[in-house]
């Protein structure tokens, strides 16, 4: 019997992926764990290991195909055991793979012949098992004939059925719990007018919106339509911090890190989040609750050729500048190479996006739903600043100023909160010593 391998559920919100590479060919002998496919999902490029030991019977996908969770990617032959019916049940749509057809004709679906015949044991007879065990098998979608019985003279026990169902699950890496979908609260939907035919005005090119682009589009549209955004701009005097940064840059690089402004920002934000936990939250509109998170995983927007990706640095509050500098550098590199894992993309509580390096100024970033705030940083430049020297004496001096923007979810936070939150960040960034304090 052939065993079908389907695109497993790769976790949170991933429905489909694009096949980047097929690492095996038909006839290829693989051991469980060998890499067989590379698939790019909404969140990352993932390498998929074989769940079976056996040889590749058919390959049903080629690079560039978009595959959905549950679609059959390839089949393996080794004639030992077929996958549990459970797997068939989970099919989103009956795929064309041959074994699916067989599945449709599995006993439960088959129409009964005139009862007198079907209900009398045929040679070999039905698998011995008590009625309750047989019921359990149906519940778990297990075909009794596939089970190695532990009872006397081939009697299948309830334990046998459960055990078999378990193996089946593991073999297929199917999720036990159903995936969590983002709640789809639609706004007043005025039907989207269809586009005009642009070729009437000149030649056009059509590029399919896929993977990351598609994900970004969905995520941003969702956030923008759901979250009433409030923006607060401000300028930060980076003069001192920049000096500090230049001074320590080399030693950090020695340790394999990169002492970017973002690293300090991470720290500053972590401090602010601890001071004002409401910024480290999510809003549950269904239950009308604000969920405050007691961990501080901060996402950093990374620009790749394929689009924007937001890897997450965990427990920022518990890491030193140096550690952060090293970790961030590594994470950014891997993300750019699309080697960051799905897990590294998940679980963020706040996001920082720094367009400074590209020369961006003031801008209004969109909150990374379901987070409730995002910090945007522009590029620093020397600017004339009026300093108060006391006794009504003022002095205009050139300082290195950086524009920052804090966007908040007005359902959860108010402008006042935003200003206080910004204050903490500004103070931290303007005064490195202050910032260092928080590191001890």
């Amino acid at each position: 019997m052939a065993r079908a391998f389907k695109l497993p559920d790769l976790g949170e919100g991933i429905h489909e992926g694009e096949v980047l590479a097929v690492l095996v060919s038909v006839g290829h002998k693989v051991k469980e764990g060998d890499l067989i496919l590379e698939v790019e999902t909404d969140k990352a490029a993932v390498e998929i290991p074989s769940p079976y030991t056996g040889s590749v019977k058919e390959i049903l996908v080629k690079p560039g195909d978009t595959v959905k969770v549950g679609d059959v990617l390839m089949t393996f032959s080794n004639g030992v055991e077929a996958e549990p019916v459970e797997a068939e049940r989970r099919m989103e749509k009956p795929a064309e793979a041959p074994d699916e057809k067989r599945a449709v004709e599995k006993p439960p679906e088959k129409a009964k012949q005139p009862v007198s015949e079907t209900r009398t044991p045929t040679a070999g007879g039905p698998v011995p098992a008590s009625p309750s065990t047989r019921r359990l098998a149906r519940e778990l979608g297990v075909d009794l004939r596939l089970i190695t019985a532990s009872g006397p003279a081939g009697l299948v026990t309830a334990e046998d059925v459960r055990a078999f169902a378990e193996e089946g699950k593991q073999a297929l890496a199917l999720p036990v719990a159903p995936e969590v979908k983002p709640s789809e609260v639609k706004p007043i939907s005025i039907p989207v007018p269809s586009l005009p035919d642009f070729t009437r005005w000149g030649p056009v090119e059509r590029i399919p919106v896929r993977s990351i682009r598609k994900a970004t589009a969905k995520q941003m549209a969702l956030a923008w339509s759901q979250i009433p955004h409030v923006h607060n701009q401000n300028m930060v005097d980076m003069t001192k911090l920049e000096a500090f940064r230049q001074k320590h840059k080399p030693e950090i690089e020695g340790k394999g890190g990169k002492l970017s402004i973002t690293v300090f920002a991470l720290k500053a934000v972590a401090t602010a989040l601890k001071t004002y936990p409401r910024f480290n939250a999510s809003l549950n509109t269904e239950t009308g609750e604000i969920i405050i998170k007691h961990y501080f995983h901060i996402g950093v927007a990374v620009n790749t050729e394929d689009g924007l990706i937001v890897p997450v640095i965990r427990d920022v509050d518990r890491k030193s500048i140096t550690e952060l500098a090293v970790e961030l550098n590594d994470l950014v590199q891997r993300t750019r190479m699309r080697k960051a894992t799905v897990e590294e993309m998940q679980g963020g509580t706040f996001t920082i996006t720094n367009v400074g390096p590209m020369g961006g100024g003031f801008f209004a970033p969109i909150i990374n739903y379901p987070e409730v705030a995002i910090l945007g940083m522009g590029s620093s430049s020397m600017q004339p600043v009026v300093l108060d020297k006391g006794e009504k004496r003022h002095e205009i001096v050139p300082r290195l100023m950086m524009p920052i923007v804090l966007c908040i979810d007005h359902r959860v936070l108010d402008g006042a909160d935003a200003i206080r939150f910004m204050k903490v960040i500004i103070d931290a960034l303007e005064d490195p010593d202050e910032l260092l304090m928080t590191m001890i």
Binding site: K110, R119, P121, A129, R138, E139, P152, A153
Partner: protein, 476 residues
């Protein structure tokens, strides 16, 4: 209703209030579904309760009493000749039926099952028309077809109220005790009704097309019964057909075609019990996607689904053994499947019981079936003449028979003939369902002295050591 056509919507429409129908309705209601049960009778119960199992068993019990009173004589107790008062018997029978039917009405009410009296005909896969009812249409999400079956007849013979040619229903009404009664058919209904009328004093003649009675049961199980019947019935004609049949005011003139010395005879009454026909006609099935096979039975799968996704069929109309207890289970399966449970009609042993004297009961694989499938089996028999309990009751003709798989030693079938087998057979059913081995049965302690011991001992024989019978090797 004087004006307009009211339509009612129902989650589950159960058509037919027999054992299958009401079991399905009750289960569905218990699973939180909204159920409407339509039957032509005012109260649920169906053929089984009003014209079948229940009334016949009521009468068979009386027959048993009469015979026991008679047997007692040889044991030292003499009762007078039984005085039979048909009026009281009918009243008693009706009382039995009423108390059970009223119980079902209460159960329906308490469960919120809506009972409607009327006739149903489908008008499509989601609506049915009601005749002779307050509402004219029912729109349903799921329908469970439980219309049952009716006694088959001979070409050109119609059963009518006053007729002398009767079907089982009519026979159970006990219009009178005919001097002579011809029963055509060799199945359990024929034998049971014959037993009743013979006990009440009729001269019973039995004619059967085939060369044996009670097909389905192994011949050796049927044998003791047949020996008895040959005593209590006047005559039994095998391989005999009815060539002509003419009903007169005074009786029924019949010409036999077969091993009969007097081919032309006249009887006071005649009972035709040659099988039953499914009620699948004139209920608008053609307006649905339900498939009906050439014999008129509705095709269903293990979940009792017909080929019309919204419609399920259970009980007699869905084919298989035409037994109430099979209908019960099918009804529950249909209800559970509708409620989304992974149920299926998945049984290994459906028991059959013939309530004659002696009773014959069997379940699982029979010797004959095994032969047809040329499947290797081992058969063990325990003649009741070795049973203490049987001796106390002077029912030595009895026998307990077990069919066993020689390789796995698993119990495949059980057959019992004798007294009270109706209660004993269930142990065999459970054993088969549980996949028990003959040894399990042998190692299970049976109370002594009981007839049920014979079930344990027949397994002992298989294992080579029955207490009350010499081991095989010591034989011959």
């Amino acid at each position: 209703m004087v004006m307009g056509e009211l339509t009612q919507e129902s989650e589950v429409l159960v058509i037919g209030g027999g054992p299958g129908g009401y079991a399905a309705a009750f289960r569905a209601a218990d699973l939180g579904l909204e159920v409407t049960l339509v039957d032509m009778q005012e109260r649920p119960g169906g053929e089984c309760l009003f014209r079948g199992c229940i009334p016949s068993k009521t009468l068979l019990y009386l027959a048993e009493l009469i015979r026991d009173a008679d047997r007692a004589q040889s044991m030292g107790i003499t009762f007078g000749h039984p005085q039979i008062d048909l009026g009281t018997i009918r009243k008693w029978k009706q009382h039995v039926i009423d108390s059970l039917a009223d119980g079902l009405v209460t159960l329906s009410k308490k469960r919120g099952v809506q009972l409607i009296q009327g006739r149903v005909a489908f008008e499509g896969s989601d609506r049915a028309r009601l005749y002779d009812a307050d509402i004219s249409h029912i729109k349903f999400r799921h329908a469970i077809l439980a219309t049952g079956s009716h006694p088959s007849s001979l070409k050109g013979v119609v059963f009518n109220e006053e007729g002398r040619v009767m079907d089982s229903a009519r026979a159970l009404e006990l219009a009178d005790i005919p001097e002579t009664l011809l029963i055509y058919g060799g199945g359990y209904i024929a034998l049971e009704m014959g037993t009743v009328y013979a006990a009440l004093g009729s001269h019973v003649t039995l004619a059967v097309r085939s060369d044996r009675l009670l097909r389905g049961a192994d011949p050796d199980l049927a044998a003791p019964l047949i020996r008895r019947i040959e005593k209590t019935f006047d005559t039994i004609y095998y391989n005999t057909k009815i060539a002509t049949l003419n009903e007169t005011k005074t009786g029924v003139d019949v010409t036999f075609d077969g091993e009969v010395e007097k081919p032309f005879q006249t009887f006071d009454r005649m009972l035709i019990a040659i099988g039953r026909t499914p009620n699948s006609k004139n209920i608008g099935l053609e307006t649905t996607r339900v498939k009906v096979n050439e014999r008129g039975f509705v095709e269903v799968n293990e979940q009792q689904r017909t080929s019309d996704e919204r419609i399920y069929a259970i009980g007699d109309v869905a084919g298989g053994p035409l037994l109430a207890h099979k209908a019960f289970h099918e009804g529950k399966v249909a209800a559970e499947v509708i409620a989304g449970e992974p149920s299926a009609f998945d049984f290994r042993a459906i028991p059959s019981v013939v309530y004659t004297d002696p009773q014959v009961a069997w379940c699982g694989l029979t010797e004959e079936q095994a032969q047809k499938q040329n499947r290797s089996i081992q058969v063990e028999r325990y003649p009741w003449k070795f049973s203490g309990r049987a001796t106390t009751m002077d029912t030595l003709e009895g026998m307990t028979k077990m069919i066993i798989d020689p390789d796995t030693k698993r119990i495949l079938g059980l057959g019992i003939t004798g007294r009270n087998t109706e209660g004993m057979i269930s142990e065999g059913v459970l054993a088969i369902e549980m996949g028990a081995l003959a040894q399990d049965m042998a190692l299970t302690i049976h109370p002594h002295p009981t007839l049920s011991e014979t079930v344990g001992e027949v397994a002992d024989i298989f294992l080579g050591g029955a207490t009350h019978i010499l081991p095989k090797q010591n034989k011959k």
